[in-house]
Symmetry: C2
Subunit: 587 residues, 2 copies
């Protein structure tokens, strides 16, 4: 079974040393979130993840969830762990104190999300969508609904789901068929089938709050006729206690390649009572509040799984002896594989991507908080645009890199990596859902290129590029190499951006065929940008923590020499256009 | 369950139109292998693979092999299929008629290997190592041994294995501990444990012929003291009939991520009777005969799995509707996803790599035959050096590209790709062993760079580069773009080669840290070289089969625009050296 030590030191480094973010620091309600408090939280988080949740990964993989007599049974140990998990208040971490939450910013909760993803993605998914549903309800529902549902969800006694996909509509929600018929009391009755519903049923919570998109009987076709409904598994009485079973049942659960401890359900809605959330026919807008935050968390899942894959690869490389290193001092026998240049390279590849991603994610968490909580509307808007821009990037890069990293981890383990005993192959299988769900990575790339670069608020990508260029003007000899490299790649990104903006207007297929590559270029450059922020601190603060900062500088060095340069190839290849692709006739 | 139609047309195109290989055509014994005969064989091969073997893939995944009372039981259907398979003579395809074989060249048997890999890799593995063992025995054993064992192996009634790995030695065979003690009658008794033995036991054949490397009691340590032994599961009497059980038993079988229908065994040898094959202490040389041919077949496995993944992705893209294409003619509803630029690009990526690989593999099969069967020793040697050079390239490129392609296939299938129902995720899991076994892909890359570029016969890579340059001098307007691109990338490869040759001499860690990238560059260029051969025919013969050739030309166009250019990035990144990697201290 893989081992795991939560990277609290790196997280605290980010929290303490990269806090220097003007707008974030202006948020009133987080001024009391001290380093000491955060350190305590992360240390407690490390304990529950390392000790209680990590063993659930193997348990869930070996004993997948089952559907028995219409009820989903989670794997052995999940119930006990979940009880402890909510007793300790982990579901409430980022929620509003008004509903019993701890009110921690995303700069803290994102670290917790990462740890939980490292420990057990399957287990994580039982509470993850609850937070998504919480966010959606707290932004769009009436006070009545909020007061009735949110405290129980924050407490973790009730959970939440997101019901979008149907058999004929995954990516394309406009095709959805689930119907909602208004009743005389203003409630609705929903009928239809939803598929791929994560945690659609389970035996961990007393109630499940489904957020369902459906079409009201008098709504138009397509995406403009979609409304959002809250449909509880058990109806909730006026006093907040649980009433009779609602018309929602689990048709089946998916047999999947990985995340086998997570129940992926087919849910059948048969005249299920639902309450409309937000305005009629604006359901997708409300749902996207939830989806966008959720997409960042999926990116964090990729980061978390990468981290545990890296840790175990490094441990194995320190223990396993095979072959003589080029500069071996041995006369007989074999060296630790960590001494082999190729293995060292592979480990540094993992490490430099992971730490860069974590820094980028921290910056994005700051932006998210600014977008939600800054006093100035204009500042909020600007941050929100950056968050929108980077959401598909983080979702896609972190999950794709997660595949690269878990794959490299398997290679480091050789034949043992392919067997179930080591648990490395499980990380690879579990992570493989992340480039697919919450919108495939290609959908993310299209979203980025067609909707996020330029929006009604202006030329967002230009602002982002300007910000990077500006932050890159650092006069420091130590930074010279890094700044030069980043600058060079920002220019490539700028050229790619000009090209793709034009194509979005004049030749959409060119843009579509290039969007994955564009996202990668933006991703590699953004991670480099995050590294530059880390490097600035590392050089300035060097003498206070030499070993730590030297490690950072050398890790960054690898990133700038071997990872960042991949960006250019994406630019060159993608800008060959698409006419030769589109005219191809598949037989 | 995935469907599969064997690509007989493409295979016959290669066999008929790319046969123009001087030395290959000089091989006497293949002059009678006509197109008609080959077509008949491939059509029969298509039938058994499509109808009988394909269903075994799912069966094996759902009902993995089990070890019951010391006996391995293969999945349901394997026994019946195997009986039919040997009745039809498929094990004998490439074997010597002297032992009952059909004497087909590898230019034919490689196509069969591909089909079988597409249909079911797990099932394939039960006969694949038999062919490896057959080759090894027929090259290195005495006539007595050959006459006793080979006819039954050719018939498929007995199978073969390759027993190398031990718990502490996978990559590094010098560490092996299995002991062989000579007996007074000249036989040996072997004791030790071998792990990861593919088809180490099964219930398909009457006997199993293990080829085992071990150290004779009086042999030196390290790789110089390794000898090769034939150890049958059941001892064979002088009349060729089966006698008593030998001291070989199955300790356990591995629980793996994929190829679950294949038994991966721990074999315990307890005073097992063994017969030395080839000279004492030269066991690794003999084993490498087997390993090298086997490594090419592992590459072909990656190609076969890529092909079935591609076919099913294309079918799905033609059936599944989601979203509107950029140039949609629909007013309502959704287009087939095949109309989306991004999906088209993904399918062309798969197709252009697969068809290029198949062409390269065909060239390599020709070279292999020349290396084994040409009348002129010098010609044999030159071909053999090219085969040695390209073996790690084909093994690594085809299996790595197999991961890319099966991963893209999952993305095309969206959420359905992650469920067991579609069977796409199984292709991804099954293929994941191919970059690991028969020497991890990093070991292949090190082998290429340190042992294959230059050997005792001279500067092999220079000869290979010269050959490509020479074959690239084509005066044809249609070929201009392709030739120019290949030429450009041959130059990059040449520069990379010069760099790495120097590093092999002067700075081995630089070479080690670059070897994976070097292999990729050589691989991408070699596939382009194979494409150029296909293109030459396609333009010349265009009017005789317009649709087919137009498809080839457009597919190649994609390869040269979007795949080949990846090579350059590998060159740039790898030549940044390794000092910053080697001095990194992992905490």
């Amino acid at each position: 079974m893989p081992t795991y030590i939560a990277p609290v030191e790196d997280m605290m480094f980010l929290f303490e040393k990269l806090k220097n973010n003007k707008h974030y620091n202006e948020i009133e309600k987080y001024k009391e979130v001290s380093s000491e408090l955060v350190k305590n939280i992360l240390e407690e988080a490390a304990k529950i993840n390392q000790n209680i949740i990590l063993p659930l990964a193997k348990s869930g993989d070996e004993n997948p969830t089952v559907l028995e007599n219409g009820v989903v049974r989670t794997p052995p140990g999940y119930k006990e762990a979940y009880t402890k998990y909510i007793e300790d208040g982990w579901t409430s971490l980022s929620c509003d104190p008004k509903y019993g939450g701890q009110g921690m910013p995303k700069t803290v909760s994102a670290f917790f999300d990462e740890m939980l993803s490292s420990a057990s993605l399957s287990f994580k998914l039982y509470s993850e969508l609850s937070i998504g549903a919480y966010n959606c309800i707290s932004h769009h529902a009436t006070d009545d609904i909020k007061n009735k549902y949110l405290p129980k969800m924050v407490e973790g006694k009730w959970s939440g789901t997101m019901c979008l996909t149907e058999p004929v509509c995954g990516t394309d929600l406009g095709l959805l068929k689930t119907k909602a018929t208004e009743q005389s009391d203003g409630t609705y009755k929903l009928s239809g089938q939803k598929i791929f519903i994560t945690s659609g049923d389970q035996d961990l919570t007393e109630n499940i709050v489904h957020l369902v998109i459906a079409r009201a009987s008098d709504s138009p076709n397509g995406t403009k006729g979609i409304s959002l409904f809250l449909v509880p598994k058990f109806l909730v009485k006026d006093d907040g206690s649980i009433g009779s079973r609602n018309g929602v049942s689990t048709g089946s659960i998916e047999n999947k390649m990985g995340i086998k401890g997570s129940a992926t359900c087919v849910l059948n809605f048969d005249d299920a009572v639902g309450y409309m959330i937000g305005p009629k026919n604006k359901g997708l807008n409300a749902m996207f509040t939830m989806m966008n935050l959720e997409r960042i968390v999926v990116g964090i899942q990729g980061l978390g799984i990468s981290e545990i894959a890296y840790q175990n690869s490094l441990n194995y490389a320190k223990e396993r002896k095979q072959g003589k290193a080029n500069n071996s001092k041995l006369s007989d026998g074999a060296d630790f594989i960590l001494e082999h240049a190729d293995i060292k390279k592979s480990l540094l590849n993992m490490k430099s991507i992971i730490e860069g991603e974590r820094a980028l994610c921290f910056w994005l968490s700051q932006q998210t908080e600014v977008s939600l909580n800054h006093q100035d509307k204009k500042v909020r808007q600007e941050a929100s645009d950056f968050v929108s821009l980077m959401t598909p990037v983080v979702k896609t890069m972190f999950t794709d890199m997660g595949m690269e990293i878990t794959s490299e981890a398997m290679q480091v383990h050789g034949g043992y990596g392919y067997t179930k005993d080591q648990g490395i192959e499980q990380l690879y299988r579990d992570n493989r859902i992340t480039p697919i769900y919450e919108g495939t990575n290609s959908i993310q790339a299209a979203d980025l290129v067609f909707r996020k670069l330029v929006n009604k608020n202006g030329d967002i990508i230009k602002k982002y590029l300007d910000m990077m260029k500006n932050d890159c003007k650092i006069e420091n000899d130590n930074m010279k190499f890094f700044v030069k490299e980043l600058d060079y790649h920002i220019k490539i990104l700028s050229n790619f951006t000009d090209w793709i903006k034009e194509k979005v207007q004049k030749s959409k297929d060119d843009a579509s065929a290039a969007c994955n590559d564009y996202l990668k270029t933006l991703g590699f450059v953004s991670i480099a940008y995050a590294w530059v922020k880390v490097l600035e601190v590392s050089f300035k603060d060097y003498n206070n923590n030499k070993n730590f900062y030297e490690d950072k500088i050398q890790t960054a060095n690898f990133y700038f020499k071997r990872v960042l340069p991949r960006a250019e190839s994406h630019f060159k290849i993608a800008t060959t256009g698409s006419d030769y692709i589109m005219k191809f006739k598949f037989i």
